[in-house]
């Protein structure tokens, strides 16, 4: 026998090429504001809907810039900016139906907006007043999750619960329910995310994995996590993956609507990769100039998600100056509300720290609390 180790000519070689050479990017509205068509994911959008997207994105961006400013002024401990990711989030958020349930990361301010969560509640969390002050069930929008990827399993389990409730595949549009797991490109490397893919595939759970590939996990470029397009990860787990232009709110909406409906219909999970870019810093403590070129950022500026909708609306006479001015005014009002609301937020009572550790406070914890209450009181006495 010839030895393939020493005789290269005798070597059977494993020829391999990445699954597809050129990844398909689903797009309905180009960066230049040109409406393009797609053989599968095309929808007729009403003028009202388009104006709605525009308004959502402008207001979401305003929340983001206000929060960033508030952090600079010491009013927030931290803020995770979404600048550049408005279309991905509004597209995904607006494609939801009331009963659909969302598991966000820490950056889904636009989705929170779509779910009717008061932006002040987001600010409260980043201010350090609480750890998520909204009702996840009321808004069908879970608390922000900071441990990367953990929420993708929660979403999958929740979707398994939806199945068990018989709330998939009934054909009743108000009953059939999809679940969305948000995560980032960096998160795709976590064991939990991959286990979520496995559980979702195994049980055919009605969950949409929505990955905002904003090209960066803090300082690490996407290439560190995956050398091939992320959406292709799904096929190895046995379900479809799609890449959509995440700066295109129309395309994101259309693709998410299809993926959500697929889940509601009982056809199982889908991975949607929204290809976008984190225009700002990772958070307000980050300094991206240390690790990326401003030329890249400039390049992505040309793909701004809001500008292209504005161009389209104007060019097609779907929005006039009044409308745009109204939205601007609304954003300004929102800014004022946020600034004032944020600064007026009271700190929690120290003793509230001991609440909600358990359904009923344990005796040993009550002892700690009472001890601390006495201790605090002793200062007041001294103070008097």
């Amino acid at each position: 026998m010839t030895d393939p180790v020493t005789d290269p000519a005798a070597r059977p070689r494993i020829e391999w090429h990445a699954p597809t050479a050129e990844p398909e990017l689903i797009q309905l509205l180009t960066p230049e504001g040109e409406r393009v068509h797609h053989p599968v994911f095309d929808l007729d959008f009403s003028a009202e809907q388009l104006r709605g997207f525009y308004r959502d994105m402008v207001l979401t961006r305003r929340i983001d810039t206000e929060a960033t400013a508030l952090q600079r002024h010491g009013e927030l401990g931290l803020w995770a900016q979404l600048l550049g990711q408005e279309a991905a989030q509004i597209g995904a958020g607006r494609a939801l139906r009331a009963q659909d349930h969302v598991f966000p990361t820490y950056r889904e301010h636009g989705v929170a907006w779509c779910r009717g969560v008061d932006p002040l509640r987001l600010l409260a969390m980043f201010r350090g007043v609480d750890q998520g002050g909204w009702d996840a069930d009321e808004h069908h929008f879970g608390l922000y999750t900071i441990v990367i990827g953990a929420q993708t399993l929660h979403a999958t389990g929740y979707a398994m619960g939806v199945q068990r409730d018989g709330a998939v595949g009934t054909g009743d549009p108000d009953r059939d329910t999809a679940v969305v797991a948000h995560f980032g490109d960096g998160a795709s490397s976590q064991g939990d995310v991959n286990e979520a893919f496995i559980f979702a595939a195994s049980y055919n759970a009605p969950v949409v994995f929505f990955c905002q590939n904003n090209q960066w996990a803090i300082s690490e470029p996407i290439e560190r996590q995956s050398k091939i397009p992320l959406y292709q990860r799904a096929q190895g787990f046995g379900f479809p993956g799609l890449r959509v232009d995440g700066n295109d709110v129309l395309a994101t909406y259309a693709v998410m609507q299809a993926a959500l409906q697929r889940a509601r219909d009982g056809e199982g999970p889908t991975l949607v990769e929204a290809y976008t870019y984190r225009m700002g810093a990772h958070t307000t403590t980050d300094d991206p100039t240390r690790y990326r070129l401003s030329a890249d950022v400039e390049h992505w500026k040309l793909k701004d998600p809001i500008a292209r909708v504005e161009v389209y609306l104007r060019r097609n006479g779907l929005a006039d100056d009044d409308f745009l001015a109204d939205v601007q005014a609304e954003a300004d009002d929102l800014g004022v509300t946020l600034r004032e609301g944020c600064k007026a937020m009271p700190d929690p009572e120290p003793l509230s720290m001991f609440e909600h550790v358990y359904a009923e406070m344990t005796d040993e914890l009550r002892e700690q609390r009472d001890g601390y209450a006495d201790y605090l009181a002793s200062f007041e006495e001294v103070g008097r």
């Binding site: 009702d135 496995i198 609440e355």
Partner: protein
């Protein structure tokens, strides 16, 4: 009422308790590896999938973080998942989900999102197993606020405690002493009123020393007390049952009477439950103590090869040795 009693093992008690909980509440689900047709490697879920279906007794992919993480989602959707971890040593891939997600969900949501989940873990050694099958991870959970940690030591407690844990609106780490699964039988009267879940019980009265134990060590300590009685030494044995929260009432009462306490567990001594018990007893009974609280536990080495595990695990003699040392002060 004797018509309703039957003699059961711990394995049987747990199985019956799970069945009862599933009958009583359709939101109770069981998840884990091999819990379905096989009934779990210890057969604790035997027959349940057959009777309650694959949607309620769920064989999971082989991934513990996945099991606990999806159980979090199920709980958020209103279910009450009962998760089986196959062996103590395999809970660690799920540790992140347990301490960062399960334990904190109620707190961070200010009580809006409950996390009624039971995580069953067969634990402890003495079964001649290979690595990672004989661990005692209780302290690693009891240190985490938001979790409750309990352990049963006998068949009757097994039956009641698993039901009480499932009924609890907080996450409960439920530790099952695997070497007791088939060790003894006990009489179960399922019409009795069980003692509350988060209480410790004096299981043998005594006057000279208080012996604190839980799970697999309760049997050993009862035997030690028995043997000591032959030598005229009166040992009070307390089965802690709940490790977080601790039920210090019976413990402090006892130590105030005896003036001496010995804690026994299989877990490593260093930072084991014995450390916390020693600290609390000393803080609260300082003037009653005739001797320092002594600890008998697994040594501070990894769990050794099984041929010498009996040397690692505290046994009757090592417990009595500690009792002697305590009396010697």
């Amino acid at each position: 009422m004797s018509a309703t009693t039957q003699r059961i093992t711990l394995a049987k008690g747990l199985n019956m308790g799970l069945r009862k909980a599933m009958e009583d509440d359709p939101r109770v689900l069981i998840m884990g590896e091999d819990v379905g047709k096989l009934g779990g490697v210890f057969r604790i879920t035997d027959g349940l999938q057959k009777d309650f279906g694959e949607d309620r007794v769920i064989d999971s992919p082989l991934a513990e973080s996945g099991i606990v993480g999806t159980a979090v989602g199920l709980a958020l959707r209103g279910y009450r998942p009962v998760v089986e971890i196959q062996f103590d040593g395999f809970v660690y891939p799920a540790y992140d989900q347990i301490v960062c997600q399960v334990a904190k969900m109620r707190y961070r949501s200010r009580g809006r999102s409950a996390m009624p989940m039971v995580i069953r873990i067969p634990y402890g050694g003495g079964i001649g197993a290979v690595e990672h099958h004989s661990e005692s991870p209780e302290a690693q959970f009891a240190h985490t606020p938001g979790l409750r940690v309990v352990t049963c030591s006998n068949p009757v407690d097994g039956y009641w405690m698993i039901q009480q844990a499932i009924a609890c609106d907080d996450p409960v780490i439920f530790l099952e002493p695997k070497r007791q699964y088939h060790a003894d039988k006990a009489e179960l009267d399922d019409t009795a009123t069980p003692v509350p879940l988060f209480t410790s019980q004096v299981v043998r009265a005594g006057a000279d020393v208080t012996l604190l134990a839980y799970g697999p060590m309760v049997r050993t300590c009862l035997k030690a007390a028995e043997a000591a009685a032959g030598e005229g030494r009166s040992i009070e044995v307390i089965d802690l049952r709940t490790l977080s929260p601790l039920d210090m009432g019976p413990v402090l009462d006892s130590v105030r009477r005896t003036g001496r306490a010995v804690v026994a567990h299989e877990a490593h001594v260093n930072l084991g439950m014995g450390a916390e018990l020693s600290a609390r007893i000393t803080e609260q009974c300082f003037y009653s103590l005739e001797a320092p609280v002594l600890r008998v536990g697994g040594f501070d080495t990894p769990y050794p090869a099984s041929r010498i595990e009996e040397d690692f695990l505290p046994d009757l003699d090592r417990v009595l040795d500690a009792v002697d040392r305590s009396m010697g002060f």
